[in-house]
């Protein structure tokens, strides 16, 4: 099921009443909701045949989640993954000329530092 996370408030309320609060999606971002499940402490979800996500404990608003996955599978905190994705995007917009200036600046600064060490 594809959905677009709402970008105006009344839609957000309707969204929350259907899907629950707490998703950190960007308004207008298209997402694919495969499944929403309610689990009790100790219960788990299988993602494919090799990944198990378990609710270990719930304390107030915090949920301790356990992940059992093959070693080579990457497991990220969502907000950190999102931050890195955004930073990667920003970094990809670079121009070679700009970098030339930066590299010159770098050489000058390092030469300057060596000089100030009294060499």
């Amino acid at each position: 099921m594809r959905a677009v996370y709402p970008s105006c408030n009344y839609e957000v309320d309707r969204w929350n009443s259907v899907y629950g609060e707490g998703f950190t999606f960007i308004p207008g971002m298209e997402i694919q909701i495969v499944l929403i499940l309610t689990r009790k402490v100790g219960e788990s979800i299988m993602l494919g045949d090799q990944v198990r996500v378990v609710v270990v404990d719930v304390k107030g608003h915090q949920v301790r989640i356990g992940v059992d996955a093959p070693r080579e599978m990457k497991v990220y905190r969502g907000e950190i993954f999102d931050k890195i994705q955004e930073e990667n995007n920003r970094a990809s917009r670079v121009d070679a000329k700009e970098l030339k200036n930066v590299a010159n600046l770098w050489s000058r600064m390092r030469a300057g530092r060596r000089g100030s060490d009294g060499d």
């Binding site: 070693r71 080579e72 990457k74 990220y76 905190r77 950190i80 993954f81 931050k83 890195i84 994705q85 955004e86 930073e87 990667n88 995007n89 920003r90 970094a91 990809s92 670079v94 121009d95 070679a96 700009e98 970098l99 030339k100 200036n101 930066v102 590299a103 600046l105 770098w106 600064m109």
Partner: protein, 157 residues
């Protein structure tokens, strides 16, 4: 032989591959400059092949150029240039996330973001890229307690 970036010492019979780049046009890269990113780079999961290119005019900055998407290239640098102990500090993360026991077999590079004010350029220490030169594989790992934007140049005094 035409100018090659990074393939300084081309051995007899070494295979060179021509790739298209928007920064440098068509260039030749050697096999040992090509790395496979099994899951791509975070945010670019479909881009699995990159060439690591040295650039004499911009050292110690290097380029991580997508093979197949000429306009996608990242500026990268070895963090030892501004943080001598970085590799040591993250070696346990490399071991646990890569499942290897010898972090010294790996090379670490970080992606550089250059904002409008170039002197404020930053390195992404939270998502360093670990390169395995022997297997020619690489992957971007995540270090939770490292900064996303670390200033490379010191603040002016």
């Amino acid at each position: 032989m035409s100018q090659t970036y990074g393939a300084e010492c081309v051995l007899e019979g070494e295979v060179l591959m021509e790739i298209d780049t928007s920064n440098f046009g068509k260039i030749d890269v050697a096999e040992d400059q090509i790395f496979e990113f099994q899951e791509g780079i975070i945010g670019f999961p479909d881009l699995t092949r990159f060439a690591l290119i040295e650039d004499k005019e911009r050292e110690p900055f290097q380029w991580l150029q997508s093979i197949g998407t000429s306009e996608l290239a990242f500026v990268v640098i070895e963090p030892r240039w501004f943080l001598p102990d970085f590799n040591e500090e993250i070696s346990s993360d490399i071991i646990s996330q890569m499942g290897v026991d010898r972090p010294e077999d790996w090379k670490v590079l970080v992606i550089v973001t250059i904002p409008d004010e170039a002197t404020k350029m930053t390195a992404n220490l939270k998502g360093p890229i670990i390169f395995n030169p022997k297997e020619r594989k690489a992957t971007q790992i995540v270090i939770d307690d490292m900064p996303l934007q670390h200033l490379i140049l010191p603040e002016p005094e």
